[in-house]
Assembly symmetry: C2
Homo-oligomer: 777 residues x 2
């Protein structure tokens, strides 16, 4: 069982109950505000049901065997909110349940252009009654609070059909926590505040017990039967309890004709607004949706996506399954970020409960680059979320004895939720990552309002963090000690090169911003000078003996990992070896120095990149889905095009092939983004150091052609690579100046530029850890 | 309110309810098997009641907000067992309670020569009835399972007195844990298995719910009244419930005469033996105690202590309070270790529930040196406990992916209980410390049986641990990375000098032992050669710029702590600053490199010691009670005698002056031992590198004379220092060869050797962190 390979959709044929938990994630729909896992309409069988509202969480105590000063006390976990997807069908007296009777035909399709999940089932009940069910579901990109479902049933013969359409709160789910207190907090987390059911509309309002957030869910129905059985009329009713609202329609349908139900859903939540206000909000959204109508919603959805694909589409020639995977990736990244609007983009988007629904640095370093160059407003909104949490970040810095703002390692509302500080709080690079993304967005958009109103404050406050985290030392310059870099198989290290380089850029960006907006920065000339000075003497460890950069002080002096005696089933290593053993060895979970060579490639020579890349390739096990995309970028830059392709493939298929065996918890947004990065920054060679956009395209043997699109400072361009040449073209705009393999070029509207691609050096494939070669296609 | 200064006892006059929690610890009695806090006979008022059996614990789950591979799952906490100390008095109808009526006189005395806790109270009841109560309590050094109490009441007029003597299980205590699950596990931890009460004897048997350990407590009474009121006879009764046995005696006593109750107590526990067997054991112990009788127990106790003081006493001239504190320290160390017999010596001994009753490396590096040179059998027994846990240590090493044996950071039964691995599991030096203590004991005793039967296996298994923890590196030799040294304000560091030097000695000791006992070591010549080679090229970081040893790689490159802006109330720092901030700075909780310079003083030159000492003095805050004694030793060696004296004073008075404001949790055994170390290794200059015993005595200005005693290879000696001379004398034995300030001397029985002491260099007092100078006397 697997997905059919098609360019613009993801199709799964047959039922395969055992794979439902996977397809619920891959078929999830979201607009960044509402998320609905791809559960069957009838609710069961199911893997892990889930409906999420971005930012809506329950709080619980974080337990510690031995507590410490400054440890976060409260954890946050995304709540499975009121489920509005459920539409059940009774065929005469038999419930449609795919586990019973016979599914003569069954397929589900996620359509990247219509932005809908379609289902078609021909089902024969245990007693031989046959119906065709078609449904289509969308979470609207254009009407942020709205989702809608069209459900159609066509009986072969005259049959009585009963449809039940629910809003269901506190859906029972098996606890995912081993801590009984956490499990208790998340068992039935919603408390009813208000219930309304009238005609075809119902509203349920709830709040969470501890975090005290309020939410409302509403549904409205339109029913239409082409032909009724003689002498019958449809009978509908609606009722509501605390945790359930149910619309029921009993209809005697003529064989061969169709019963159609349209269900409109609206969701809203707030930590501030009252229950009546939330009710009003969802009822207003419902009215808007009905006014637009089902066909209207479909049209808006398609128009939104048409625009997206114009600026974001990637085409590869020579690998149809990869083509599908790339569009799948882009579609889900759009879904995660499109309408978040000052909410975080969680590590799993809104596709599952993994990582408790928390957002990490993945957002800024992996997901936002995609959005910045395709849907920049979505990138800006995600950064506005960070800006909106600055007070929490300042408080956190103060608790930690630091200046400025320390963004959390993991959070839903902006407060630190990490219960293991060596891999959480100590990973201060997250604040540098936020600054990096801010600077990247500014370069890519010249968004002056954001620069003035949000960016400057973020850059300045994170620069202050670095000044208090680091110090000038007579041995080495400006050191940043005792932190954890991106590689989670090291912790509490000194002078992590990635962190230091991100901090260096952060300090310089802050100095520039403070000079642009002195009224917003509130920084003295002395303070600004101190930032520049620290940046200028930033410590950068180098191993003279081995002629490589240690990813942090001493790294290259540590013991090697015994890869030859590490069997495949012992990966990921962190589940089978203690932290202390990982930390003291040269084993790398995910690109760290290699990531530094991507995002701060301006700080390394080509020779250093080649030597470092070979060194870290031999020690990187990719136990994190954040790694392959970055390794692809550096592999391509250094000249290992086939290896880069293998990494691209790994990133692109992480979820579709469930490589980490946890797609049930949701999709890996950063890995999906990594596929884009592997193509655009890897084979496209796109870089933006210092705001200068450059390209250095090259094709691996596995592809005969590649084209990608992006936007830069309002200009939309397309880059096509084929047959030893690259063609640069303006899609929307007038002119763009860039570089092709180091040579300046200027592209004008209607005047594509085609340039030859320099030959790639012939290199030996680098040695990788035993058993950790990416799968070849 | 404070203790009266007397040379051989600790006396507290007056009641001072607010200080009861302190005096319960300082007045605690123990023989290393049974521990009884110094609660008043009548049980209340009280601070924190406690009766402990060494090794008897309850188990509970260790919670983690984010769990990791190899984290210990089970915690252990010492249990407050059945309380047999309680004897209540009813004077006519008024209970003797120090909170009511008037305490006309009240004093309690801990007598270091009798080994008893005496109390004398003249009490007038609220209605004006006056009685004199005298009690004396002992936990027998000679009869390990036995404690006894003599309780006497003398009424001024004819009065009816009722005595109630209890065994009370599951005494209600306020929970000390913030984790509700831990609190629940320790609330009423004992489950009754057996109850018996007959005549004047009662037995209660219980077991713990989770750890499943069984215990028995028994009491027996003798009552004697000098003169009864006319026409009356004493009425006694005994009864027992699940958690309570009570002997009651109602007696009409003639005014001015005395009612005497002798209470014998016996305790036993086992994880293996049955309840009937335990009952039999305690009843047998009771019979033995009655046969010896109260006076006999007193005589045995005094004889045991006379022998101890002959080999262990320290006399100082010029500071009477210090004299008292030193004997108090020695008395409590003896109590902690005398009859432990293959049980651990916990950090608090058996004086309180602090640290959950766990044993740490303190035992080997601080407490055992005292015992090794005074009561070597007790040191051997504590090391036998470590040997008895080797299987658990091997299992732990295996879980951690290591060879050999990894002793736990904290434990009661030998299994790791640390829930914060950077300051627990990573502190692998504990295994080197055990090996160090083993080697020190062997040198001090030439105990061939122990060498063969236990020492060799410990040394070899810990050497194997180091071989798997460290590695040969082309840059630096044999490195040991990612560990935590003694200083708990650093963690997960590379090449901690202390750890490396202890490992170096461990490897060499193991090689020697394996060659002495090839049948026990089971080590090939290649393996032994590998140990020696690793030891020979052990990495030893050195800062060429600053000309000091960093306590670990990079330490001297870290940021300095801002001591000037750290107010006094922010100490101890770990309660007011996050670990990450402490770890990344040059702030030292407790002697680390300085401890290395003590125990591996042979690895440093005199100049290095002086420079290093000054460097670390300026950065050591002594937030641990393990530090002052060691700093005294090096201060004295380097020549800062007055500073050494200040540190001695701090170590000696840690508990008597409650310097850490936590003596309620029990006494700091390592600090008490540190006082001995400060005197014997500090002002006595005693060293034993490589088994060679040497001295280099010197007096600080504050003392006019000092003499100390110790045993070495069966010979008991005394060293007296006074007026610029030192006198060495054999107390028991024939001859001893040693060195005095580097010059060889030989002492023979009856021929004391007096030698002049070389002048001390005049040195400037080193700079200490702002506000952290030890208090001057």
């Amino acid at each position: 069982m697997s997905y059919a390979v098609e360019p613009w959709q993801l199709r799964w044929q047959g039922l395969s109950v055992g794979n439902l938990h996977q397809t619920e994630s891959t078929f999830a729909l979201s607009n960044g505000h509402i998320g609905m896992r791809g559960t069957l309409d009838e609710g069961e069988p199911r893997g892990l049901p889930g409906t999420y509202l971005n930012g809506f969480y329950e709080q619980h105590q974080l337990p510690y065997g031995e507590a410490g000063y400054g440890y976060p006390e409260a954890g946050q976990t995304v709540v499975n909110v009121t489920d509005g997807k459920i539409i059940r069908l009774l065929v005469e007296d038999e419930p449609l349940d795919m586990r019973y009777g016979t599914a003569i035909e069954h397929e589900r399709v996620l359509d990247f252009r219509s932005g809908t999940l379609r289902r078609r089932t021909v089902w024969e009940s245990p007693t031989g009654r046959r119906v065709t069910v078609r449904s289509e579901r969308l979470v609207s990109f254009t009407q942020r609070a709205v989702a809608a479902i069209r459900y159609e049933v066509e009986p072969e013969e005259d049959l009585q059909l009963v449809l039940q359409s629910d809003l269901l709160a506190n859906e029972p789910i098996q606890s995912r926590s081993s801590d009984p207190r956490v499990a208790a907090a998340l068992d039935a987390p919603l408390v009813n505040d208000f219930t309304m059911a009238e005609k075809s509309r119902a509203v349920l309002c709830h709040h969470t017990k501890v975090s005290g957030l309020r939410m409302a869910a509403a549904m409205e129905h339109e029913i239409e039967a082409v032909e009724l059985a003689e002498g019958t009329t449809p009978r509908t009713e609606i009722r509501a309890e605390d945790d359930l609202a149910r619309y029921t329609a009993a209809v005697d349908v003529k064989g061969g004709t169709c019963l159609k139900l349209t269900k409109y859903l609206a969701y809203g939540w707030s930590g501030q607004r009252s229950t009546p206000a939330l009710r009003a909000q969802v009822e207003a959204a419902l009215s808007g949706a009905r006014q637009t109508g089902w066909e209207g919603l479909l049209r808006e959805q398609r128009a939104f996506l048409d625009d997206f694909w114009e600026v974001a589409d990637i085409e590869v020639e020579g690998d149809d399954e990869l083509q599908q995977a790339l569009r799948f990736a882009l579609f889900h990244i759009l879904q995660a970020g499109a309408r978040g609007e000052t909410r975080a983009i969680p590590g799993k988007g809104l596709t599952g409960p993994g990582y408790d629904g928390h957002a990490f640095w993945d957002t800024e370093m992996f997901v936002l680059p995609v959005l910045t160059y395709t849907v920049p407003d979505a990138a800006r909104d995600a950064l506005r979320w960070r800006h909106s949490t600055l007070d929490k970040a300042r408080e956190r810095a103060e608790v930690l004895g630091l200046k400025g703002a320390a963004f959390p390692w993991r959070s839903i509302n902006g407060a630190e939720c990490s219960a293991y500080w060596p891999a959480g709080t100590a990973a201060f690079h997250v604040s540098g990552d936020v600054a990096y993304a801010v600077q990247q967005y500014l370069h890519a958009t010249n968004d002056e309002a954001f620069d003035r109103d949000e960016a400057t404050e973020i850059l300045v406050e994170t620069a202050r963090l670095w000044m208090s985290l680091g110090h000038h030392d007579p041995h080495d310059g400006f050191r940043i000690d005792g932190v954890t870099g991106p590689d989670e198989y090291s912790a509490i290290v000194d002078n992590n090169v990635y962190t230091n380089l991100v901090a260096q850029q952060n300090l310089r960006s802050a100095a520039d911003a403070a000079e642009r907006h002195p009224d917003k920065a509130n920084a003295s000339a002395e303070e600004i000078a101190a930032w520049r000075k620290a940046a200028d003497v930033m410590a950068m460890p180098y191993d003279e003996l081995l002629q490589v950069h240690p990813q942090a002080d001493n790294f290259t002096r540590h013991a090697e990992w015994d890869f030859e005696n590490t069997p495949a089933e012992k990966y990921p290593l962190l589940l089978n070896y203690p932290y202390f053993d990982l930390y003291r060895r040269q084993v790398v979970k995910q690109a760290d120095l290699v990531l530094a060579m991507h995002v701060r490639g301006d700080a390394f020579t080509a020779e250093e990149k080649a030597r470092n890349f070979a060194y870290y390739e031999a020690r990187t096990v990719r136990d994190s889905s954040l790694s392959a995309g970055t390794q692809a970028v550096l592999a391509a830059e250094v000249g290992h095009l086939d290896l880069a392709f293998d990494y691209l493939v790994e990133a692109a298929f992480t979820d579709l092939h469930d490589l980490h065996e946890n797609v049930t918890n949701g999709l890996h947004m950063a890995s999906l983004a990594g596929a884009w990065t592997a193509l655009v920054a890897g084979f496209g060679g796109m870089r933006d150091h210092g705001g200068e956009l450059t390209f250095a395209p090259r094709l691996p043997d596995a592809l005969t052609g590649l084209s990608f699109r992006m936007a830069f400072q309002g200009t939309r361009i397309a880059v096509e690579v084929r047959g030893g040449e690259a063609t640069y073209r303006i899609v929307d705009g007038t002119e763009l100046t860039t570089k092709h393999h180091g040579e300046p070029i200027t592209i004008k509207a209607g005047e594509p530029v085609t340039v030859p691609i320099p030959k790639c050096p012939e290199l030996e494939r680098p040695r990788l850890p035993f058993g950790r070669e990416p799968r070849r296609r």
